[in-house]
C-alpha cells in the first residue's frame, strides 16, 4: 500500500527555511507571495494490505522518527 506522510511545523514555530524562501522569491521579482512555510513529505510503501495495520505502523514511524512532535505535526494519508 502507498502512503503519504506530511510533516509541517506547528503554528507559531519559527520557520527559517520558509523565511529565506520568501526572501528568495521576492528578490527574484515574483510578486504576490505572502508567507511561506516549509514542510516535508514522505512517500512510503507499506507492506501491509490492511489499512488499520498500515496506519498504526506509520503512526509509530511518525512518532519515533519522521516527525519531531515537539515542534511538528504530521498527517498520514493512505492511497486507496
Amino acid at each position: 500500500m502507498k502512503a503519504r506522510v506530511t510533516v509541517t511545523l506547528k503554528q507559531g514555530v519559527l520557520d527559517p527555511q520558509g523565511k529565506a524562501i520568501e526572501g528568495g522569491l521576492k528578490s527574484l521579482g515574483i510578486e504576490g507571495i505572502g508567507t511561506v512555510r516549509q514542510g516535508k513529505v514522505f512517500d512510503i510503501e507499506v507492506e501491509s494490505a490492511d489499512k488499520a495495520k498500515a496506519e498504526s505502523v506509520l503512526r509509530d514511524a511518525c512518532e519515533r522518527l519522521l516527525a519531531n512532535t515537539v515542534i511538528e505535526n504530521y498527517r498520514i494519508e493512505l492511497a486507496e
Binding site: 519559527l14 520557520d15 515537539v70
Partner: protein, 578 residues
C-alpha cells in the same frame, strides 16, 4: 491609565515562579498592584537565571581581577588583553532544559546565544567549544539526545561559520532526566573597541535589530495572555528554533555598524529578550527607557505587550544609537536583509515605561528592578564525605592489559571522533590543534599569537568533595592549557547544579565555588565570565555537581606548541609531578 486586566491572583503569581513574599516585595516596591505585563517583567527579572538570587552572594567571592582583565563578569562576556592591541572575549552558557525537551533546537539556540554574547561586545567569534553530559548510554532517551544535541551544535556553528574546536562529553545515570549542554564562544576584538551595554545620553533612540519577534519561549503563564485559546487544537510549543543564517547576517551587520561609529550601547536579547536587555541598558547607564511596542517587528499577529516583553525569539539585538547616524545604521541593516526599527528612547526619569496601542502597559522603577531583586543566603550543608579508601584495600587488577581494555571501552574514555567530525573545526584556517589534543589551539589572525582553550570538570570528584572537585576542575583546565604550551590567562565557568533550596545541593554549590576560587587565586587565573544553571533535577534527584571550567591561555608564538603524539621511536618518557 494602566489597564488592570486580568486581575493578579495568587495562582497567576505562582505560575510566574514568584514566591508570595517575592510578590509582596514587588508590590511594596511599586506601591500598587502590577499589571499582567509588569508581573511578566518582574518574573523575568527576578527569576534565578536573570537575578542570580541564590548564587550572587557566593559568586562575589571569586577572583575576577588581574592586570590583563579588561572586563570581568557583569557584561555579555569577559574580556582579556592579549597584547598587540587585541582582546579576547569569551563566555560559556548552558542550555540544559531546552536541550532535553528538543535536543537539536535546544543545542542550536544555546550556541546561537553564546555567539551573540561575544559579538555583541564587538568581537568576531573565532572558536566555539562545548561541554556535554548525557545520561547512561543504555537509557532509552540517551541515543536520541546525543544525536540531536551534537547535530544541533554542528548545525548552528557550521552554518554561522565558527570552528568548533573542543569540548567534552560524559555519561552518567544522574543525567538521565537532565542533560547538560554548555556552550562556549571565544572572539577577538581590538582592545580599545569593545562595546558595552551601558546606555548614555537622554533622548537617544533605542533600536531593535535582527529577526522578528514571535511567541517563542514564552514560559509558564501563557494562559495569562488574552489571545491564547486554551481549546486550540495544539498547545503552543515554547521551543525556540535557531536560525544560524540570520545570526551570521546579524554578526556581519553588527560588526559593520560598530565600525561605523554609530553604536552607543548594545545588548543581545537572550533570556526574557526585550525585558532584560532594555532594563539592563537603562539601569547600567542610570537612565530611564521608554518603549513603544507598536514598532516592534512581529512575526505573528495580535501579539500582546506581555508576549512581546517575554518572547525569547532568537537572533535579536537591542541598541542605543547615535541619533545622527540613523541613516547609516539603517542602510547597513537593510543591506543585510535584517529588521531595523526604532522602538523607544532613553529618558532621564529612571522609569521603565512600556506602551502598546497608545496605552501604558508597564511603568516601573528601572534600577530597582535589578537592584531590589531578592537575594538569598540559602542554607547549605556539607554531605558526609565518603571515606577515603586506602590504596591497599583496592584489589589490583588481574591483568593490566584487561583493565586497560576495560577503561578504553568506557563511554567517557571512548573516542569522541563521531562527535567532533560533525563540527566544522577547520573553517577560518587557523585551527592549529584540532580536537583530540589536551587543549585546542587557534592562531590569532595571521599570527604569531595563538589562543589555547579547553573545557574541563570531573563531576564525580565534585560530588565526593566539592571544594577539592572545584579546585581540580580549574587545575585540569590550567594543565591542559600549559600542556600545549599556552600561558593560562582567565576562565569562564558554567555552574550546573540541582535545586539550591536543598541544603545539601547548596552545599555542593558553595563548596565548588570555594574550590574554584581558591584554585583561581593560587594560579592567578581570574574568572571573567560565567553562567549558573540551577534546578537541574528530575523527580527529586539532582545531577552530579558539574561546575564546567572553560580556560583560555595565550601562546606568544603559536608555532611553538606541544602536541600529544609521540614523535619517534626510542624517545624518553618523563613523568612530571607527584
Amino acid at each position: 491609565m494602566i489597564p488592570n486586566e486580568p486581575k493578579i491572583t495568587p495562582e497567576l503569581v505562582a505560575e510566574h515562579g514568584l514566591k508570595p513574599d517575592e510578590y509582596e516585595r514587588f508590590v511594596a516596591l511599586i506601591g500598587r498592584e502590577p499589571t499582567i505585563t509588569e508581573l511578566g517583567i518582574v518574573s523575568a527579572m527576578w527569576n534565578e537565571h536573570c537575578s542570580y538570587k541564590s548564587s550572587r552572594l557566593h559568586l562575589k567571592t571569586l577572583p575576577t581581577k588581574a592586570p590583563w582583565v579588561i572586563q570581568g563578569p557583569g557584561e555579555n562576556a569577559g574580556v582579556i588583553d592579549i597584547g598587540d592591541g587585541l582582546a579576547c572575549v569569551f563566555k560559556m552558557e548552558s542550555h540544559n532544559h531546552p536541550s532535553y525537551i528538543e535536543p537539536y533546537q535546544g543545542a542550536t539556540t544555546g550556541v546561537g546565544g553564546i555567539l551573540r554574547d561575544v559579538f555583541t561586545m564587538g568581537a568576531r567569534p573565532v572558536a566555539a567549544l562545548n561541554a556535554l553530559r548525557f545520561g547512561s548510554p543504555d537509557h532509552p532517551k540517551t541515543h536520541h539526545l546525543v544525536a540531536g544535541v551534537v547535530a544541533g551544535i554542528g548545525g548552528y556553528g557550521n552554518s554561522f561559520g565558527v570552528p568548533t574546536v573542543g569540548g567534552s562529553v560524559g555519561f552518567h545515570s544522574r543525567y538521565d532526566g537532565n542533560i547538560l549542554v554548555n556552550a562556549m564562544a571565544v572572539g577577538i576584538a581590538k582592545a580599545d573597541e569593545i562595546f558595552y551595554a551601558k546606555a548614555t545620553g537622554v533622548g537617544n533612540p533605542i533600536v531593535y535589530l535582527g529577526s522578528k519577534t514571535g511567541r517563542d519561549g514564552i514560559h509558564g503563564a501563557t494562559m495569562a495572555s488574552a489571545e491564547f485559546d486554551e481549546n486550540s487544537e495544539e498547545k503552543r510549543p515554547t521551543v525556540q528554533v535557531g536560525d544560524p543564517f540570520a545570526e551570521k547576517l546579524l554578526l556581519e551587520a553588527c560588526l559593520e555598524l560598530m565600525a561605523s561609529g554609530s553604536v552607543i550601547a548594545i545588548q543581545d536579547m537572550g533570556a526574557a529578550g526585550l525585558t532584560c536587555s532594555a532594563v539592563e541598558m537603562g539601569a547600567k547607564g542610570d537612565l530611564g527607557i521608554e518603549l513603544d511596542l507598536d514598532a516592534v517587528p512581529c512575526r505573528e499577529e495580535g501579539m500582546s505587550a506581555y508576549e512581546m516583553m517575554l518572547s525569547e525569539s532568537q537572533e535579536r539585538m537591542l541598541m542605543v544609537l547615535d541619533p545622527d547616524k540613523h541613516d547609516i545604521a539603517e542602510a547597513i541593516f537593510r543591506k543585510w536583509g535584517l529588521d531595523f526599527a526604532v522602538i523607544g528612547k532613553t529618558t532621564d526619569t529612571l522609569r521603565f515605561v512600556v506602551r502598546h496601542k497608545g496605552e501604558v502597559m508597564a511603568d516601573l522603577p528601572i534600577k530597582e528592578l535589578g537592584d531590589e531583586a531578592p537575594l538569598y543566603d540559602r542554607p547549605h550543608i556539607q554531605n558526609a564525605f565518603e571515606p577515603v579508601l586506602p590504596p591497599e584495600t583496592v584489589a589490583a587488577p588481574m591483568a593490566n592489559g584487561e583493565a586497560l581494555v576495560k577503561l578504553v571501552g568506557t563511554p567517557d574514555l571512548s573516542s569522541k571522533r563521531w562527535v567532533w567530525e560533525q563540527y566544522d573545526h577547520l573553517i577560518l584556517g587557523n585551527t592549529v590543534q584540532t580536537p583530540g589534543g589536551d587543549a585546542a589551539i587557534v592562531r590569532v589572525g595571521d599570527g604569531p599569537k595563538g589562543l589555547a582553550m579547553t573545557t574541563d570538570v570531573t563531576p564525580r570528584y565534585c560530588e565526593a568533595d566539592p571544594v577539592e572537585g572545584g579546585k581540580q576542575a580549574v587545575a585540569e583546565a590550567w594543565r591542559n592549557i600549559t600542556a600545549v604550551g599556552g600561558l593560562p590567562l582567565a576562565v569562564t565557568d558554567n555552574l550546573n547544579f540541582g535545586n539550591p533550596e536543598k541544603p545539601d545541593v547548596m552545599g555542593q554549590f558553595v563548596g565548588c565555588i570555594r574550590g574554584i576560587g581558591e584554585a583561581c587565586r593560587a594560579l592567578d587565573f581570574p574568572v571573567v565570565s560565567g553562567n549558573v544553571s540551577l534546578y537541574n533535577e528530575t523527580q527529586g534527584r539532582s545531577i552530579l555537581p558539574t561546575p564546567t571550567i572553560g580556560g583560555v591561555g595565550l601562546l606568544d608564538d603559536v608555532r611553538v606548541h606541544a602536541t600529544v603524539a609521540f614523535k619517534g621511536v626510542g624517545e624518553t618518557l618523563i613523568l612530571i609531578g607527584e
